[in-house]
């Protein structure tokens, strides 16, 4: 039975699903408001990217959203990794903050969003801050776990060879912790994206979320599918980028 490679099998499954989708959309009497066939969605995507569709200001809005993704992620990564190192290096601080972090992690951040808007207004800032709050915990947890798992013998060896603190950090701690930290960053990116997108859809101002809302409000269904597809692709692309980085590092 296993004569077809898994990748080919997966592609076949996806193609089957698309084919069924296409055929049933054309055949059934389901309203074109509810569902669009993949072929139409494909052309919409092409049009949107070529700005020949009726989607208003696609690239400016897309750029806003991408900036929010990047901004939120960069801060999440920097702050998360830094805090992760802090909590791992001092047992006292780590122990003290562990329950605090667990409680903060358990709070459904979504429920805080109206508060953010109230305090920070609308625009990019609350969305970025929200993305950070959603993504930072995974990064902190993974980073501190990565650092804590490092064999202390390696650090002792480095010191005994005369390595200074900085050299030990770059030559021993960082490479050893990198894979887990990268995994945390990958998950963190995913959560940050979810946070930013949720923010864009909850309080609609600008960005891809606003375009999606516009399409939804006006029942421009093919455009809606197309925009969603583009947004999902950006999210998945970012994730894949990290997967590749992770695999390259683990080597």
């Amino acid at each position: 039975m296993p004569r077809i490679s898994p990748a080919v099998a997966r592609a076949a499954i996806v193609l089957c699903i698309l084919a069924v989708w296409e055929i049933t959309t054309h055949l059934s009497s389901a309203s074109r408001i509810l569902i669009a066939p993949p072929s139409e969605i494909f052309w919409q995507v092409v049009n949107i990217l070529a700005t020949t569709s009726n989607v208003p200001k696609f690239y400016p809005n897309a750029w806003i959203t991408i900036q929010e993704f990047i901004g939120a992620f960069v801060i999440t990564a920097a702050l998360g990794v830094a805090l992760g190192f802090l909590f791992a290096s001092s047992k006292l601080i780590g122990d003290a903050f562990e329950p605090i972090l667990l409680v903060l992690y358990a709070i459904p951040k979504v429920i805080l969003y109206p508060l953010f808007v109230l305090m920070l207004g609308i625009g990019m800032v609350p969305k970025i801050i929200f993305g950070i709050t959603v993504g930072i915990f995974v990064v902190i947890f993974n980073t501190s776990a990565a650092v804590r798992q490092i064999d202390p013998d390696y650090v002792k060896l480095a010191y005994s060879l005369g390595y200074g603190r900085l050299m030990t950090f770059f030559k021993i701690i960082l490479p050893a912790a990198a894979p887990t930290i990268l995994a945390g960053l990958r998950l963190g990116f995913g959560y940050t994206v979810i946070g930013v997108m949720a923010a864009e859809l909850l309080v609609v101002t600008d960005g891809l979320g606003s375009l999606i809302d516009w399409a939804s409000f006006n029942y421009y269904t093919p455009q809606l599918y197309g925009l969603i597809f583009i947004t999902l692709t950006i999210g998945v692309a970012g994730n894949s980028l990290f997967s590749v980085l992770e695999r390259r590092w683990v080597r």
């Binding site: 099998a9 006292l92 003290a96 109230l118 501190s144 979810i194 269904t221």
Partner: protein, 258 residues
């Protein structure tokens, strides 16, 4: 450290406690002062005292909404988890099916499903259906990935062992397969619960008329800030308790692992 790691032995518990108390106290103090001193308009940032006073009235107001939310959450979670169990077990029928389907399922986890929300509204409307379907879908993907992974925890040698001992298929399931899968399943349940909760909240916040999300949104848009804070604290408390229960369950069931 991490949500699933064991709490480190408190060799210096007094110092730890001191830091925690100091941290919380500092936050509360900053909070109180920034409002009292007028750094931030109390319209946007309610004082801790005002919030505390609003706790009980808000809780009473929130009751019907809490009921609506948690009933939706329960249905969504059960549906998502059951579907995940079925699909996950199917995916595990062979090593081949696992290799083929797992990346697709992982893709389902990675996709920011919140982007699909307008589609769901289109199909199911602004009602309970959307909330439950979205919540179920949010719970489904993390759970199915975990169920599939859990299936890989069972070693073929253990199944052979059960055969040699004369166990029937059902007994093998009960005594070997399910215990082996339990830690990963419980961990999956933890993530599925959180995902379902988040999903339900998001939909309620965005569109619904009833439910905690809607309640919070109303408080925010009518600038009833102390009540808003109180509602957030209330919801967070309930969620944290659910998380703690699940997490301690997951830890207890995973004790035998290295």
């Amino acid at each position: 450290m991490g949500p699933m790691s064991a709490i480190a032995p408190r060799t210096h518990s007094w110092a730890v406690l001191a830091i925690q108390v100091a941290f919380v106290a500092a936050i509360l103090a900053m909070w109180q002062f920034s409002v009292s001193l007028g750094w931030i308009d109390s319209l946007f940032l309610a004082a801790p005292l005002a919030t505390a006073r609003a706790l009980i009235p808000t809780t009473i107001l929130a009751e019907p909404h809490l009921a609506a939310t948690f009933s939706a959450f329960a249905v969504a979670l059960v549906t998502g988890v059951l579907a995940a169990l079925v699909v996950g077990l199917l995916v595990n029928t062979s090593r081949y099916t696992y290799t083929v389907f797992m990346p697709l399922l992982v893709l389902g986890v990675i996709i920011p499903k919140v982007t699909l929300l307008p589609l769901f509204v289109l199909w199911f409307g602004i009602e309970k259906a959307t909330i439950v379907v979205y919540g179920a879908l949010s719970a489904f993907f993390p759970m199915v990935v975990n169920v599939s992974a859990a299936g890989q925890e069972v070693k073929p040698a253990q199944i052979t062992l059960a055969r040699v001992m004369g166990y029937s298929k059902i007994q093998t399931y009960r005594k070997v397969i399910i215990p082996a899968m339990l830690p990963v399943l419980t961990s999956g349940l933890f993530y599925a619960c959180n995902a379902a909760l988040m999903g339900v909240f998001i939909v309620e916040l965005a569109l619904a008329r009833f439910g905690i999300g809607a309640f919070v949104r109303n408080l925010a848009t009518t600038f009833r800030t102390p009540e808003l804070y109180a509602a957030i604290i209330l919801t967070s408390l309930i969620t944290v308790i659910i998380n703690m229960l699940l997490w301690s369950l997951a830890r207890r069931l995973g004790r035998w692992r290295a």
